[in-house]
Amino acid sequence: MTEDIPLRHLALNDLHLALGARLVPFAGYAMPVQYRAGVMQEHLHTRAAAGLFDVSHMGQVILWPKAGMDRLALGFEALVPVDVAGLRAGRQRYGLFTDTRGGILDDLMVANCDTHFLVVVNAACKAADLAHMRAHLSAVAEVTEVTDRALLALQGPLAEAALARLLPDVARMRFMDVTTQVWQGQEIWVSRSGYSGEDGFELSLPETHAQAFAGALLAMPEVAPAGLGARDSLRLEAGLCLYGHDIDTTTSPVEAGLGWAIQPVRRAGGARAGGFPGADRILRELADGPSRLRVGLRPEGRAPMREGTVLFHGETPVGTVTSGGFGPSVAAPIAMGYVPGALARPGTVLQGEVRSRRLPVAVSVLPFRPAAFKR
């Protein structure tokens, strides 16, 4: 991102400033990295009650079927190793765009909204993803970027109680359900999902009504604003990948430990096995195991091991930290990175080089903190 491209401001920019946000450039947007409470408190509040995140920088894309939803689903399956044809109306699923070498172009959420699919992609990949979908789906879909809607995430154990005061029907939703609700005459697209490891919701709503809606949530005692900083520490504790850091075109889904996102129907022996970019490598790695794996890492001392920290086994460099910092709920430094399969067993002690010193770090199970979804 070059400096001379002006930053885009979110529709809720004024609200962020009024809440004392510190804004930082992220994927071309001026994003609130934290509010007055600070990353630690915002993180802990989200785990204890409910945090409200503005993730409007992310891409929202509608795929309108040109030749029926079934053909659209099958067309989309040619881009992702995921069961889309089997995704029922009113349900959402995690997915990945893969490339022909089996790397990851982006990770995404895809929802079957009955009359269309809604795809949510990362901000930094938005333009490339749109081009990718337009290039490959033109026969089966009209690909429309949604540009007039904010995207909010309300995350935490009290998210349901808070949101249900505005949208009572959301209490009936379960993890990965999607519905359309109406608030003050406006459609709000609700999914019961998020990226914090907590129960919660993502809410797409017209920018014109976003400030009023966010304000109504923030007026509730359970709800506090939370920024990108807390979003990052929450997802790291939850063992979730951040695109461009833990996953990218040099990592395969299997190396990244995302095999769970590849349903049996797309695997060898499945009714629609393969047929996605990089299937040869990805199916082979599913069968034989990948040469390296994303693992959790627990530094044994107090020093955080940040992204880029080189991992050693004996004197041999064996991997790199891809995300690392301090886990406020774990109350200790935590990290993720890639190591050879033979060194991926939890408890294996490696050395991470921090400021020219090699410090012990143990391979750990992911997530660092169990997820609390409402299944």
Partner: protein, 119 residues
């Protein structure tokens, strides 16, 4: 109290200079979760990286403001890094450094000048 452009405060205590970071710096850093202090008796030169501070978000350094010998470090910060946020001007001093000539303190800003710099 004197101040550096790197947001350190310096307080003279006999022939020692006590070094900490300002409230402004502590606020900018955010929640401090890790502090690494220099070795006692280390000889340091002005501009050396002598302390590492890590917040939830990022790592940053404190530079030695003057040449001298580190004679004492505040071990309480190792066990309780959040002191840096709670009491940056008091309990969260980082180290004491012995200098040859205290006139070096004239190089630094007084409170008014520092307040003006961060305004």
């Amino acid at each position: 109290m004197k101040y550096t452009e790197d947001h350190e405060w310096l307080r003279v205590e006999g022939d020692l200079v006590v070094v900490g970071i300002t409230e402004h710096a502590a606020t900018q850093l955010g929640d401090v979760v890790f502090v690494e202090l220099p070795e006692v008796e280390a000889m340091v030169a002005r501009g050396d990286e002598v302390v590492v501070i890590e917040s939830v978000k990022a790592a940053s350094d404190i530079l030695a403001p003057v040449d001298g010998e580190i004679v004492e470090v505040n071990d309480a910060l190792v066990d309780t890094p959040r002191l840096v946020n709670d009491d940056p001007l008091g309990a969260a001093w980082f180290f004491k450094i012995r200098v040859d000539d205290l006139s070096v303190m004239d190089d630094f800003m007084d409170e008014d000048e520092y307040e003006e710099m961060i305004a």
